[in-house]
Amino acid sequence: MRNDEKGQGLLELVISLPIIAVLLISLSTAFLYFLKLYTFSLSEFELQEQVRMPMERIVRELTYAEKVEIYGNTLRIWIWNDIGRQQSVTYSLDKSKLFKDAQPLTGGNKLGDIMITKFRCVQKKPEVIFVEIEGRNRLTQHHFSLESAVRLHRKKGNNVQNKFY
């Protein structure tokens, strides 16, 4: 064995091991922290999506509505379907979820625990319907709400009265 073939001494090992441990723990903690924040951000995107998507649908259907009925947390829109028959779609808020014709429009999200906290429809002016949807991310406790208004463009000669309760 040659004289210059030296490995690490016990003292060097004893000193270096805690340093490496502290370094690795700090790095993994920082990494996990940012990963958690990243997950929070993605769940916030889910919150936006869960509020924006039903709002877009409702606004689109209200634009072509023939008749509108509002009963508290329920909005019924009468539209002409593709074969020229009148049909209604009903939007309602029940158990923190928005429903369209008894089918859930929101929920089923993977990251955040999203609940719809407010669904409000009000007649602002004759032929103008105001809609507000608010959601809450239970993971981050963040609220997100959207509001809009739609002027009904009914066919000429349609004198059907809207109902608001």
Binding site: A30, Y38, F45, K125, P126, H143, L146, E147, S148
Partner: protein, 129 residues
């Protein structure tokens, strides 16, 4: 001199990789957060503009044919939504060629991360038969 050793290339590369991974995680979060804030504010602004356009369209014929600007027509005096303050400016102009129509422009502006953002929406409305 028996032990004049500095850092090995491998040690430097490994340390660099660990630091890069940590920086990447931070960058990932910061980019996503920036996109989220931007998307949140822009979506809110778009729906507010749609609301203002619908309420403007629902104004009486006299207002629609004579007004040059309109105040915020929605609920409340100021537009505070999702933690942002939005300025809503509504301008009504004549259209070329058809005096029964007027062009309504809604400009929505807000401040986001110390930067001024603005979106504009236009719609032509009928003000006379």
């Amino acid at each position: 001199m028996a032990r004049e050793n500095g850092f090995f290339l491998l040690e430097t590369v490994l340390l660099g990789l660990i630091l890069m991974a940590a920086a990447e995680a931070f960058l990932l979060y910061s980019t996503t957060e920036h996109m989220r804030i931007n998307s949140e504010a822009a979506t809110t602004a778009a729906f507010l503009a749609q609301e203002q356009l619908a309420l403007a369209e629902g104004q009486d014929v006299e207002t629609l044919s004579q007004a040059v600007t309109l105040p915020w027509l929605g609920e409340g005096d100021a537009v505070e939504k999702n933690g942002y303050h939005y300025e809503v400016e509504t301008i009504l102009q004549e259209t070329v060629g058809d005096m029964s129509l007027r062009e309504v422009t809604v400009n929505i502006s807000w401040t986001e991360n110390h930067k001024n953002k603005k979106m504009s929406f236009q719609r032509v409305v009928k003000c006379r038969d």
